[in-house]
């Protein structure tokens, strides 16, 4: 009960935030009926998906302050579970997606246990490595399609059980629903005991331990929550794209984008990941189509991201949201 009340209680936000949130929600609700083209629709779906990823990352990366750069492996676990379950056993999405989340949770505990013996840069590098290892395994694993990946069987008729639709609108509303579940969850999380403890760990880990906080265990829990979030998004990605391979769902590129978006928007704040995603997803799409036409410029997108993150962190480490708050205080 208490939990539910916390999740839906937005009273401690400022008035502009509440108004903005309502307007934004109304906009999303009517968005499919505004006559946007399929490119724009795809961008907005991507925006919601990356917001979901970012909110998940925000638990361990933002509130917990751990530079986590391996979320792609959990996108992969979610996506592969859904895809393989469907291809091999015709298991519907609504069953395979939760299974994917459970696998992600289990895997994250196993990985998290040794991972959180490490701190700082060592931790960051280790998260990258674990994700690369899993990607490598999938690239070479014949049974799961190796580097070629997996195509999901396309159903002739729209099928809610398997989440196959002809129109983007259904996918849009589905990811929007997930996005709101994530928002309510995060609204609970930031007020939870674990949320407070993680923030203390980020502030001063020694002091946190002296206050009875098992820092390592808290980090593992947050890491697993983040992994579960991301696996949900991975499952969505499988049914949305109907095709996955280790490069599209397990790449380092993806891990970095997830962390980058949340950091740019404002790590450790409620709206940061959403704002970051709203900036970077359109930019990414635009750069993607532009760079596609100029083959010699591969890597320029990451140069631009790095520049952005450097500018923001030099000016305000708490990201765009930090800048907004700074102006509001004046």
């Amino acid at each position: 009960m208490e939990t539910l009340r916390d999740a839906f209680d937005f009273r401690d936000f400022s008035k502009p935030e509440k108004v903005g949130f309502v307007i934004f929600t109304l906009f999303l609700l009517v968005f499919p009926w505004l006559g946007a083209g399929s490119f724009v629709k795809a961008v907005v779906i991507q925006f919601l998906l990356f917001s979901l990823f970012g909110m998940g990352w925000n638990t361990i990366g933002g509130y917990g302050g751990q530079v986590e750069l391996g979320k792609a492996q959990y996108v992969g676990i979610g996506a592969y579970t859904v895809a393989l379950a469907m291809v091999w056993w015709k298991i519907p999405f609504w069953v395979s997606m939760p299974i994917g989340v459970l696998i992600a949770l289990g895997y994250s505990f196993i990985i998290g246990y040794p991972l959180f013996r490490l701190k700082g840069h060592y931790f960051a590098i280790a998260t990258i490595c674990t994700s690369l290892v899993l990607q490598d395994i999938f690239i070479n694993w014949k049974l799961v399609g190796a580097a070629k990946g997996i195509e999901l069987p396309i159903h002739e008729h729209p099928d809610f059980l398997y989440m196959q639709f002809k129109s983007d609108t259904y996918y849009f509303y589905f990811i929007m629903a997930l996005f709101y579940v994530a928002i309510f969850y995060m609204n609970w999380f930031r007020k939870s005991k674990l949320g407070y403890q993680l923030r203390m760990i980020k502030e001063d880990e020694e002091a946190a331990e002296s206050l009875g906080i098992d820092a390592r265990w808290c980090k593992i829990k947050a890491y697993s929550i983040a992994s579960a979030f991301v696996a949900v998004g991975g499952g969505f990605l499988a049914v949305y794209n109907l095709y996955i391979d280790p490069y599209s769902v397990m790449d380092l590129d993806l891990s970095i984008k997830i962390a980058l978006m949340a950091m740019l928007g404002g790590a450790g704040s409620m709206w940061g990941p959403i704002i970051g995603s709203a900036f970077l997803v359109p930019l990414d799409r635009f750069l993607g189509s532009w760079l596609g036409a100029h083959k010699g410029l591969i890597g320029v997108d990451f140069m631009i991201y790095s520049a952005l993150i450097m500018i923001v962190s030099a000016y305000q480490p708490r990201g765009i949201w930090g800048i907004i708050e700074q102006f509001r205080k004046r």
Partner: protein
């Protein structure tokens, strides 16, 4: 049975023996001072007791339970709170939130934690600081917040590492009153490292003196100030004469 018992504790930092076969006991309800020159091994001794360092040998026994090698969060759950000589000055959490984190040690309920934290801030007279961040406060207030959040974990033994360092005489006096109040009203055993004699001598029931990692004296404050070795190692002739 002693409340806290340290037996033959050794901590060797690869050549620097910071604690060299140190033993002592503390009874419940006492106020014990720990003094000694810079680098004597006082902070190290604290860290060995609460678990930031693993002693090379020796035992730490708290309430008849051996806690040697326990992690800091475990010793806290056993009932030992501590403050730091150098407190990290952070900007991400308010004073109230800092103290709430301490209170969360004993409850899962946020409202309860908040009530508890508010009560402790009230007890220490810090009500007006609730909404500030540590980096916005003067040192004296920072130290009190450190005290408040440790208190919020409801310790039975509170270990304070130089709570009065960096304070002016008036603030020091306030701090002494606060410590007396904590001891009297909350019945918490206090174990404090202190360089400021004006703090340690009046309130300590017993004083332990470390020098070069070794315990060189232990006794009543009035005995300690007359102890030849202590005067030589630490107090200096001037302080001894001024008494």
């Amino acid at each position: 049975m002693a409340f806290l018992e340290v037996n033959d504790l050794v901590k060797d930092f690869g050549g620097v023996v910071a604690n060299n076969h140190v033993s002592f006991q503390i009874d419940q309800g006492e106020i014990i001072g720990l003094i000694g020159p810079n680098g004597a091994g006082k902070t190290t001794l604290f860290n060995c007791v609460v678990g930031y360092h693993k002693p090379d040998s020796g035992k730490v026994i708290f309430k008849e339970k051996e806690i040697t090698g326990f992690k800091p969060f475990m010793t806290n759950r056993e009932g030992i709170g501590r403050t730091f000589q150098i407190m990290k000055v952070t900007a991400g959490m308010t004073v109230l939130e800092n103290v709430m984190v301490g209170a969360f040690c004993r409850t899962d309920d946020r409202n309860l934690a908040k009530v508890e934290a508010a009560a402790i801030l009230g007890f220490l007279g810090l009500d007006s600081l609730r909404a500030y961040h540590l980096n916005e406060l003067p040192i004296a207030s920072q130290k009190k917040v450190g005290l408040a959040r440790a208190l919020a974990t409801q310790p039975e033994l509170l270990m304070l590492d130089e709570v009065a360092s960096g304070l002016n005489p008036k603030e020091t006096e306030e701090m002494v009153d606060l410590l007396k109040k904590i001891h009297r009203d909350k019945r918490i055993t206090l174990f404090l490292i202190e360089h400021v004699m004006e703090v340690v001598m009046p309130i300590s029931q017993r004083v332990i003196v470390l020098d070069g990692g070794e315990k060189i004296a232990e006794g009543l404050p009035k005995e300690i100030v007359k102890n030849e070795r202590v005067i030589k190692a630490y107090l200096g002739e001037k302080y001894a004469k001024s008494l």
